[in-house]
Amino acid sequence: MTTTQEAAAEPSVHDRLTELAGRLAAAGERPAPPCPDAVNTAMIRNWTQALGDSGDWSRVAPPAMIQVWSMPGLVSEKGGSAADEVLRLLDESGYTGVVATNCEQTYDRYVRAGEHLRPAMRFGGLAGPKKTAMGEGYFVTWYQTWYDEDDRRVAEMLFRVLKFRPRKRRAGAAKPVKPATSLDTAFFWEGAKAGELRIQRCADCGRLRHPPGPMCPSCHSLERDHIVASGRGVVHSYVVHHHPPVPGRTPPFVVAVVELEEGVRVVGNVLRCDPDDVTIGMPVRVTFEDVDDDLTLPQWIPADAPDDEPPPHPEEPALLEIPLTPTFVIATALATRDFTPVHHDTALARAQGTKDIFLNILTTMGLVQRAALTVAPGAVLESISVRLGVPAYAGDTLRLYAERADATTLTVRGAVSLGDHVTATVKLKETP
């Protein structure tokens, strides 16, 4: 068959990627689109105001602003990166997902207002295919470098993304499976929406029954109503789910058979309790989990759990606590000259499958710098190296923690309700 022969003659995606990556790497450094403006005090002021940075930046620009100087602004044609060809080939080959994983900036010296910077870029490398939590993918790395008017390097940045084949089911990402309902079971789910744990009762013999059904197995009556259970019960048995991933739940999580004080059993998750602390016989009480407008699930918490959910990270107080208001997300995006719609257009962000608008990476770099300089006032930064985690969505709160690892090294962590948004290492220059 000729088709088979053609397919055999066609190099594999991996071979094409490897060849392209090799060619780009061999091409070395090339000019990037020029910076629209010289380093200037107006943009620095916008940036410090938006990020809430109260440092003294009257003589030099904040180092974490370096990428801002070469951002093209709100223009139709994007500047592009040294990896565009590789990214395009990955897109065409089904690796359509993208997530930024690393950003590392090294500062040779701080720049001053009035300087004209000249950016350059070069391809870094390609690694893969690798199995990741997001799906199979390739890590793509590229560099951007800034030179001064004497062609001396002032800063360099490494940027790495994971291009992945989106999985059909993403662990913990999708919503829980919706129950199918029938004329015999709908009252239960409607009850949950109303905050009631409804248990079917035979209207003739009074027998309670869960799960419900159309005919009383005891007296064969078709007449039924329901009681509203007290919501108190004990764990009759339970499991701790670790594997495989399931929609809408993040392992490890607990599923229990709860025996109600009314004498029937119900299955649900035990929430707000360390899986190690769940035991058979443990008293629990009902709570209601609103999955979305259509679905509320009866769930279980330890009987002595407080009514209000404790904060997910009740640990040490944060160094900086930043409410991620829409204004903060949008103002910082614009102050870093990042006009990508997912950072300012809520409807469009949601249409692209994210929960809301979210913080851009240039701002995250600036906030890491801010946290580092809060712990080490007056220090001069040599580099910021960050690993990116979960998105920091509008409406959430970013809590930044920083501590000194040694005389010239700081570690910075930024957490949101979904987990760690950023973990960073900040290197300081030796103080003379």
């Binding site: 829980p176 129950p179 079971t185 670790h242 299955v267 649900g268």
Partner: protein, 388 residues
């Protein structure tokens, strides 16, 4: 009147067991069927009945077409996942003993590893009665067979003091048996109890090595009357008893709402029927093929079938109790934990080999073999016997 002693398994056939067959499920089915028919010394034109699982993707008429069978007089399907395994033989035995058919082939074939994997999360619920059962569980991420079995296993541990090590002894025995079975996926790869105890959690209290493997493959069995089987080349495996069973308030693997979670009442019912039909007792069974999708249910089956009392299985499996030289060798082929997961059908084939004296892990003096099907679901069982 009963089905006992009227029908026999006269032929067995199977594909290789793999993780990626590279062939269609229908092709696996007909490869296994043809081998079983030839093994029985018959031709496809002799076949007039086909039985498979409701879960099988290859219909009886599709198999008929591929094999060139001129026409069928009997065809049926048995529902509820792996609980169907022995049920297919029960249906076939009923058909040949009542004259509804002369030669019935039972088959099960799938790409369960390379295609649709049962161990992955169920992610949608239909609005039929079974889908409504799932709907009380899937929204809570309670969505995999391992999780559903683990719920009963935890209660069993609580009631009787069984431990993860007791479950581990089942896995160690199965992997020991598979180690000397060249057809087994885990041929040459036994495990220790320590390896079991350090394998990762799947759904606590079940570890990875408590869960059977996932496999591609097919197995087929030829059932005919004992009279006809006597004239065929292979020693017949007589169907001395064949039973299906459900328990009170039975659900598809969700028997949590009434009664005892540390029990498998459907298997208890199957066991009582098997003993009644056969007139045998547990002491007459030389080896048992117990459905081992997950280790804890092997323990509970030993209790439900009367090999030991309630809560005593943990002692029964100690000191190699279910290994080849133990008091009741279980799954000499390595079971689904060691040989392959063909939804229980490979276990029936091993029972036939033990009756024939043709197993790689052959036991001496085999007269009666008890076989069970998937547990936690509506289930089935067989007692197969050598001709007296």
């Amino acid at each position: 009147m009963s089905v006992s002693g009227k029908a026999a398994i006269a032929g067995i056939g199977a594909t290789e067991f793999s993780k990626e067959s590279g062939r269609s499920e229908l092709r696996l089915a007909v490869e296994a069927c043809l081998e079983a028919i030839r093994d029985a010394g018959l031709e496809p034109s002799d076949v007039d009945g086909l039985v498979t699982y409701a879960a099988d993707t290859s219909s009886e008429i599709a198999v008929q077409r591929e094999l060139g069978i001129p026409g069928l007089r009997f065809f049926s399907r048995v529902d509820y996942g792996g609980g169907a395994a022995c049920g297919t033989v029960a249906h076939a035995a009923m058909a040949v003993s009542t004259g509804q058919a002369d030669v019935v082939v039972c088959y099960r074939a799938f790409n369960e590893r390379s295609g649709h994997r049962f161990g992955q999360a169920n992610s949608s619920a239909r609005a039929d009665s079974t889908g409504l059962e799932f709907s009380w569980h899937l929204p809570y991420g309670f969505a995999t067979p391992a999780a559903w079995v683990a719920m009963q296993a935890r209660r069993y541990m609580h009631e009787y003091g069984a431990t993860g090590e007791d479950f581990g002894r089942v896995a160690v025995a199965m992997r020991r048996h598979a180690a000397t079975n060249p057809r087994a996926w885990f041929h040459g790869r036994p495990i220790t109890l320590e390896e079991h105890q350090t394998s990762r959690w799947i759904v606590d209290p079940l570890r990875l090595l408590d869960c059977c493997q996932e496999s591609d493959g097919g197995v087929a069995l030829v059932v005919t009357s004992v009279e006809r089987a006597r004239d065929l080349p292979r020693p017949p495996a007589v169907v001395t008893a064949a039973a299906q069973g459900t328990g009170p308030d039975q659900m598809m693997m969700f028997g949590y709402y009434t009664g005892d979670l540390a029990a498998l009442p459907a298997m208890g019912r199957v066991g009582r029927t098997l003993w009644w039909q056969s007139g045998l007792t547990p002491g007459d069974i030389r080896t048992a093929i117990l459905y081992d999708h997950f280790t804890p249910f092997v323990l509970i089956q030993l209790e439900e079938l009367g090999f030991c009392g309630r809560g005593e299985a943990k002692d029964y499996v100690k000191d190699g109790g279910i290994e080849l030289d133990g008091r009741l060798p279980v799954n000499p082929n390595g079971g689904q934990l060691g040989e392959a997961y063909i939804h229980g059908m490979n276990g029936v084939a091993e029972a036939v080999r033990q009756i024939r004296g043709a197993s790689v892990n052959q036991l001496d003096g085999v007269e009666h073999v008890l076989v069970t099907a998937g547990t936690g679901v509506p289930t089935s069982g067989l007692i197969l016997s050598a001709l007296p």
